[in-house]
Symmetry: C2
Subunit: 417 residues, 2 copies
């Protein structure tokens, strides 16, 4: 990690030349951008503040914002400090988001993260003693703990379906969830893409089954926005919770909740401020949270422009290309278990694996020391897998370097951390 | 309002020379600082990004951060964007805050604002149908709406005590609240300092009465931290909710909740994430909210250092001095009703008034146009008062200029906005 002086030197200065408008970004990136077009993606990498020798493969935890987003946050903060707070461009924000991830602009709420979004859902519906909430053994605490709390407080029950690893196909996943539904099930809460293995669950199919059974479907969609060419109006589910500070590269602490129509006037707000009971506001009632950090939303608006400039189709193709390259390399490693699915329709931009006889936390420390690589180890549920995420700022060279290090690790082992 | 280009020019550059450590700030401000020591307070003003011709008298809504706070937020954000998030210095933050506003470092929770803090309280206790919550007709929506929602949802009742305007003494205020207590009252929720008139309520006396009656006391303390030389360990109340982005000049969207001891393990978290039910964490359970905007907390830490450098005793004396100068001037105005108390022990750094025959919103627009003055009109409860706040960056000249304009307004009226 750079020390403070070299860090500030590194970051100082050059930012102003970078284009900020959607139009300028789109124009810069108007040609090229095929998944293997290295020159194009090197130019994208240059839009970031990530040090050149850093291999960051943990976007699944937190996405680094490009310079245009950092600039937008700073400019907003300085205007507030100068006593001229610019306010939030709500229509631009909701409209831009709807263009990028689909859905109706009227459905968007902006909590601080997926965790808060899911708490809004769990607290906002009426759950009774004896009701059951069904989830899986691949949920993140952000999607899980709100239900653990609410069921504990109300005398309801939390049931956990076990998902196959690696998953074979969509119907196997849908069935694994559905086996645990009972006549007391009121809510199914599952990930769209699991944080454990990057597996895409069949939300549309689960939505069909839930609607037929009168069960609510809450989706932990922390990962897809900014990673997949998503359409919230067709993905399914009554509630979709996300964290644009992951793949959408918005500032840390930027969340999202998409409410389908009936819930915009039906959900009880969890954080009440003025207007919470003014149903004419629809979902926007839930954006009334008192004075909040509006610079986050200025940053999100800039992040949306960045992705509109790139185009989500190009982004999804690139991040899948890099993940496939990684996964293909992992398959060639001896003694390696890949927890992520082989099926492309279940896969995305994250892959998880474990090397026999190598503790994943030891491996993580080793990769960090050897080549400044940042990874995530899925210690949750005692899985012990290493997870690697690939995003637009990563290169084929990043992937190949890590694969080389993993080959060495298999051959010679890694020191205990 | 400056346009974008002149704004950026205005703010660019000079920031790095300003001292950032508590020690350097304290050393710069080691001598002087009496309430009327103009040279000293001009140097303090130079620590801000407020344009030199701006008269900002609305700190009661949002405090402008000094440059050191803006720098801390930006540096944190850039480290996150470079994939090296620094994390939160929890012990420094809680310890610094305890030095500045009193209380036990273990009691601090950091929501986004007073509104969220009060929602945590209203949702976190067990309120039943038929219970009563007592509040006043001088509460801000941030302290009020959480109770409106929770009482509506649970079939409880919200009662509203009427406070005297202007208030004469502390016992008159305590009695006005207490008259509305019934044997169903479970919670009293009042402001420490009202946003309407800047009147200090007798929290310690209400605390004594509430304890004797087995009633919980929740305090909306949005204003005192950073304005008064406060001690949270003696102020009283079970819960103290605040917004350091007001008088403590922290970044927009920085809140505070102080929990007294039994509630650190007893309060249900409203936003559950990992560890919410680990009682060994005490109040810190409620700081587990998933990935949040940690740059706010870096900014708060810097704001605490700024105030430690100044010293709260000096700050309180100065802001009271300016408010007294303003209030004395207002008393000399004909046809002017002052809603704030004459008694210094009930007063602080805000004063509210109305000029007969002059609409306060027209007056607000007039002051803004004439001298770039920012004020707040208390339209809530149809009061229609203009509120002026005085903080460390204000000068006697600011106050005198506004008084001159008010004299003119009384004499000649102001145009309709």
């Amino acid at each position: 990690m750079p020390d403070r002086r070299s860090f500030l030197t590194l970051l100082g200065g050059a930012g102003l030349a970078w284009p900020r408008s959607v139009e300028a970004l789109a124009s810069r990136w108007s040609g090229g951008g095929a998944p293997g077009d290295d020159a194009f993606w090197q130019d994208v990498r240059a839009a970031f503040l990530i040090p050149h020798d850093r291999i960051y493969l943990n976007n699944g935890t937190l996405g680094p914002s490009p310079r245009v987003v950092v600039d937008a946050v700073e400019e907003h903060g300085r205007r507030v400090a100068a006593t001229f707070p610019p306010g939030v461009a709500w229509d631009d924000l909701k409209g831009g988001l709807a263009r990028l991830v689909g859905g109706d602009p009227q459905g968007f709420v902006f909590p601080r993260n997926t965790t808060e979004a899911m708490n809004f859902v769990a607290h906002g519906i009426e759950l009774d003693a004896g009701d059951e909430v069904l989830t899986t053994d691949h949920e993140h605490i952000g999607g899980l703990e709100p239900w653990r709390l609410v069921t504990a407080r109300k005398g309801a029950t939390l049931r956990v379906a076990s998902l196959p690893v690696p998953a074979r196909d969509a119907s196997q996943l849908a069935d694994a969830v559905w086996e645990q539904v009972s006549d007391r099930t009121r809510v199914v809460c599952v990930s769209h893409v699991t944080f454990t293995t990057g597996t895409t669950l069949p939300i549309a199919e689960l939505d069909r089954r839930c609607r037929a059974a009168g069960i609510l479907l809450a989706v932990d969609g922390a990962h897809p926005p900014g990673m997949l060419d998503l359409d919230l109006s067709t993905v399914g589910g009554d509630f979709y919770a996300s964290s644009p500070h992951k793949w959408l590269l918005a500032p840390q602490g930027t969340g999202l909740l998409y409410l389908t129509d009936p819930w915009r006037t039906r959900l009880w707000p969890t954080l009440a401020s003025g207007g919470w009971d003014d149903l004419s506001l629809g979902a926007h009632r839930l954006n009334h949270m008192g004075t909040m950090d509006e610079s986050r939303l200025a940053g999100l608006l800039s992040a949306i422009a960045f992705f509109e400039g790139l185009g989500m189709e190009r982004v999804e193709a690139r991040v899948r290309h890099l993940r496939r390259r990684l996964q293909t390399g992992l398959r060639a490693l001896p003694a390696t278990f890949i927890a992520s699915s082989d099926a492309e329709e279940l896969a995305c931009a994250m892959v998880s694996f474990r090397i026999d006889g190598v503790d994943s936390l030891d491996l993580q420390a080793h990769l960090s020391r050897r080549a400044n690589v940042r990874t995530r180890v899925i210690g949750e549920y005692d899985y012990g897998w290493m997870r690697l995420s690939t995003h637009v700022y990563n290169s084929e060279a990043d992937v190949d370097r890590v694969l080389d290090l993993l080959h060495d690790a298999v051959r010679t082992g890694v020191p205990a951390r």
